[in-house]
Symmetry: C2
C-alpha cells in the first residue's frame, strides 16, 4: 500500500480519537474548551501519535490499544506549540496555516489551554493504563517518562535554552545538540516508548525504540529547520524564514551538511529497528516520510 495513504489513514484515526477525547466545546466554560480544541484539532501531521501506535504494532500488539496514549502525546505536543508561539517566546502569528492560539483567542486563554492540555495528557495515559490493565509499575513508568519528557530536563529545558541563546551567533554544537535533543527528540522518544511500556514491553525491546525515536526526532528537527530556511510558507503552513537570528542546525552547519545529517540520523534510526524483532515497516515508513519532506 502507498506510504502516504497509510499515513493519511493513521492520521484520520488519530484526528477522530483526539476529537472524541477532548472536552466538547459546548461545555461551560466554552471559550477555554474552544481554545483547547482549536490548539489541538488544527491539523498537523500527527507524527508523534502515529509513532505511539506504530511502536505498539511493531511489538505485535493492536495499535488501537494505545490510541489514548497516542492522543496524550499529541496533547503534550500541541501544548508546547501553543507556548512556543506566545509573544514572550517565538511570537508567531500563524500556525498550521491559521492564527496561532493566542491570536485567535488571547494570551491568557492560550496559556491556560496549554496548561490544561498537559494535565489532560496525563489523564489519558492513566485511562489507557486502566484499559490495558498495565499494572502499577508500568503505569507509573509511562507517566514518569512523559512527565520527564516535558519537564525542565526535557522540552521545557530545551525551549528555555533555545530562547536563552536566541540572537547569540556563537553557539557551540553541544548547546545546539542539547536544544534539539530536549526540544524535539525527547517527546519522540516518549512517543515510541510510552504506549509500549503500558503494554508491558521490557527494556530490551524499548531500547531500540528509544534509539530509533531519538534519531528520528533529531532528523525531524533538522528537516523542519531546512524547510524554514528554504521552504515555501504555503506548503509549510506557517511563516518561513522566522528562524533568521535563531540558532538551528542549518544556521550552524549550513544546508548541505544539515541534509546529510538528517539522512544520517534516519539511517541510524533504521539500524536501531534492525535490532527489534517485529514488524517495523510502519516505523520505517514514518522515518522515510520525515526525510522526504526536505526534498
Amino acid at each position: 500500500m502507498d506510504v502516504l495513504y497509510v499515513l493519511e489513514e493513521e492520521k484520520a484515526i488519530v484526528e477522530q480519537a483526539l476529537a472524541r477525547c477532548l472536552p466538547a466545546s459546548d461545555v461551560h466554560p466554552r471559550r477555554i474548551h474552544e481554545a483547547i480544541r482549536y490548539a489541538t484539532l488544527g491539523g498537523g501531521k500527527r507524527l508523534r501519535p502515529i509513532i505511539v501506535r506504530a511502536a505498539a504494532g511493531a511489538l505485535g500488539h493492536d495499535p488501537d490499544l494505545v490510541t489514548k496514549a497516542a492522543c496524550a502525546v499529541e496533547c503534550v505536543h500541541c501544548s508546547s506549540l501553543v507556548l512556543d508561539d506566545l509573544p514572550s517566546m517565538d511570537d508567531a502569528p500563524t500556525r498550521r496555516g491559521r492564527p496561532s492560539t493566542h491570536r485567535q483567542f488571547d494570551v491568557a486563554t492560550a496559556i491556560l489551554a496549554a496548561h490544561d492540555l498537559l494535565m489532560h495528557a496525563v489523564g489519558l495515559v492513566v485511562e489507557n493504563g486502566i484499559d490495558v490493565a498495565s499494572g502499577q509499575r508500568a503505569l507509573a513508568k509511562a507517566i514518569r517518562e512523559l512527565s520527564a519528557a516535558v519537564g525542565a530536563g526535557g522540552m521545557v529545558g530545551g525551549q528555555h535554552v533555545d530562547l536563552e541563546v536566541a540572537g547569540d551567533s556563537a553557539v557551540d554544537p553541544e548547546t545546539l545538540e542539547y536544544i534539539q535533543s530536549r526540544k524535539t527528540a525527547s517527546l519522540f522518544v516518549a512517543a515510541a516508548r510510552g504506549g509500549a511500556i503500558l503494554l508491558g514491553a521490557d527494556e530490551a525491546r524499548l531500547e531500540p525504540l528509544s534509539d530509533y525515536a531519538r534519531c528520528l526526532g533529531l532528523a525531524y528537527q533538522i528537516v523542519d529547520d531546512l524547510l524554514d530556511a528554504e521552504g515555501d510558507p504555503e506548503t509549510v503552513g506557517k511563516e518561513t524564514g522566522k528562524d533568521a537570528g535563531r540558532i538551528t542546525f542549518v544556521t550552524v552547519h549550513g544546508s548541505a551538511t544539515a541534509k546529510d545529517a538528517a539522512a544520517g540520523f534516519v539511517r541510524t534510526a533504521h539500524e536501531a529497528l534492525d535490532r527489534l524483532d517485529g514488524e517495523t515497516r510502519m516505523l520505517r515508513e514514518i522515518a522515510d516520510f520525515c526525510l522526504s519532506r526536505s526534498h
Copy 2:
C-alpha cells in the same frame, strides 16, 4: 500544643521536603531550575500540603508517608500562582513580599517554570504511589483527581472565567460560586483526597474529607478576598487592593456577609469532620487558622 507552633512545624517539614524534591539550581540549564525553585520555595503558608499530611494522619497513617504527594499539591499551587501573576492575567508585580516570578526572571521563563512544576507534581504523585505500593487503581485515581483539579473543569476553568468576568460589575452569584469552587476549592479537595487515596482510603472515608476541603477552600478564598480588600500589604505579603474592579465574594456581598459566610463554611467543614472516624484535630486547627486570618 500551640496551634500556630504545630502549623509552623508542619510548614518546616514541607519546606524541607520541597527543597529536596525540586531540581537543584546548579543543574544545567540553571536559570530555569532557579526559576522553578524561586516560584516554589518563596514562603507561603503551605496549607495545601499540610492538609495532605493531616488527612493521612486523620485516617490513622503516618503523615510522612504522603509527604511527596503533599509536595506535589504545593507544586501545582505554586504553578498556578506563577500563571495568575503574569502580565496577561493579574499582572502582579509582587508575590509573598518578593518580585513575582516573571518579574524576577522573565515572562517566558515563568511560563516554562509553571509548565515544569505541573509535570513535576505528577512525577511526585507517581513516586509516592510507588513508595506506598498503592496499586494501579489507587495510583490512577490519585493522578486523575489531581489532573482534573488542575484542568479546564478545575483551576484552569476557574481562572479562565475569573479573567472573563473581570471588570464586569453584574456577575451573578452562580458565576462567583463557579470561580471560587474551581479556582481555589478544587485543589483543597485534591489535597485532602490525594494522599488518602494513595493510602487506600475508600469513598466512605474520602467523602467527609472532600466536604471538609471544599468548605475550607471556599472559606479560605473569602478570607483572602477580605484581606485584599481590608488588609495591610506588609502583613499579607502581596499588594492589597488589587482586586478593585475584580469580582470577589466581598465585592458582591459586602464584608459583613463575607465574614459570616467564611465562618459558616468553616462550621460546615467541622461538621464534615464529625462524620470521619479518626483523629481530626489537625484538620480542625487548619480550618480555624484559615478563619482567624480575617480578624
